[in-house]
Symmetry: C2
Subunit: 171 residues, 2 copies
Amino acid sequence: MNTIVKKESGIEVSGNAGFVGEYLLYLLASASDVASAAFHAQVRARGLRVPEWRILACLIDTDGQMVTELAQLSLFEQSRLTKIVDQMAIKGLVKRRSDDRDRRRVRVHLTPEGRRLGEELVEAARRHERTIVEQMRPGEAALLKQALKRIHALCEGAAPAGATEPGEPTS
Amino acid sequence: MNTIVKKESGIEVSGNAGFVGEYLLYLLASASDVASAAFHAQVRARGLRVPEWRILACLIDTDGQMVTELAQLSLFEQSRLTKIVDQMAIKGLVKRRSDDRDRRRVRVHLTPEGRRLGEELVEAARRHERTIVEQMRPGEAALLKQALKRIHALCEGAAPAGATEPGEPTS
DNA sequence: CGGAAGAATATGAAATTGCATATTTCTCCC
DNA sequence: GGGAGAAATATGCAATTTCATATTCTTCCG
């Protein structure tokens, strides 16, 4: 089943021999990486960095999110998001507006410019996704997405293995 | 099917409304992130940084890889890998040895210490993976892995969208 | 052989990232 | 009303990461 390739040096460099080739977390990271590479090139070709694209996409979905929400959705740590938003504001892609109800909150809004670019890229992303999905078996992509969502649901709240429970002695 | 949650502000913050919640690349990145989080905590608890763990795991699979091979397998850019290996060498986890056949090449070997720690963590990784897989439907994890491998196979060589073919006029 | 071209790795400087903490605003309870 | 404490965001600095390029070695060909 496993294709073992011997190199001149006698070292196996098969695609799936050994541990990592069957390790779920590796397969996830690796698929994510390689699948994104081509599209990320398109993003950069339009003068955006990848993190900026991620923010745009999230804002296209729902504009005016608060920094914390946006950070969670876009998978960035809060202080990092703040800095990305800084840059995007300078580029004129987004605008900060403080929430009237709660002035601690800062809501991030797309500018017309940001929305245009965002929508353009979302279309490109859809096309790119389609080229991948079309190459898979019928229904395989849907199953994949479903499984990925389940992973997400299972893991999101999971205690960081070995974490002490509240009230548990730490000494 | 989609659970739409309205917040005080009237903004949807559902888990899957809109574009990103159904976007393959997002689901991949997001599942990868959240699934790894708990295990990464275990890694750090043993005094390792995550990149170092990734290298250890790759070397456990096949010791003595050259820097370039290792970089590709571990999903790090070459110059970055060099620096991670520097640190690991200082910590006494790996040792560089230059290849006799081709003295440009540097092969990275585990020290006994590195192997011990690596094997320990591979076991922990297996246990962690098991806890995830067990929570999924029977067979779902296997399908997921297969789909991830297919993604990888489909995308690995893919021309970075808009790239010029060799021999194509660039002007 | 000699030297040009290419490969493999390392290095330096600039940019990004993460972590701890400061700052501002809100909530709650007395 | 007036703190104490929590929440939301920003900031500063150290560490990591990237990008371009230097260095070392090998291969190929005249």
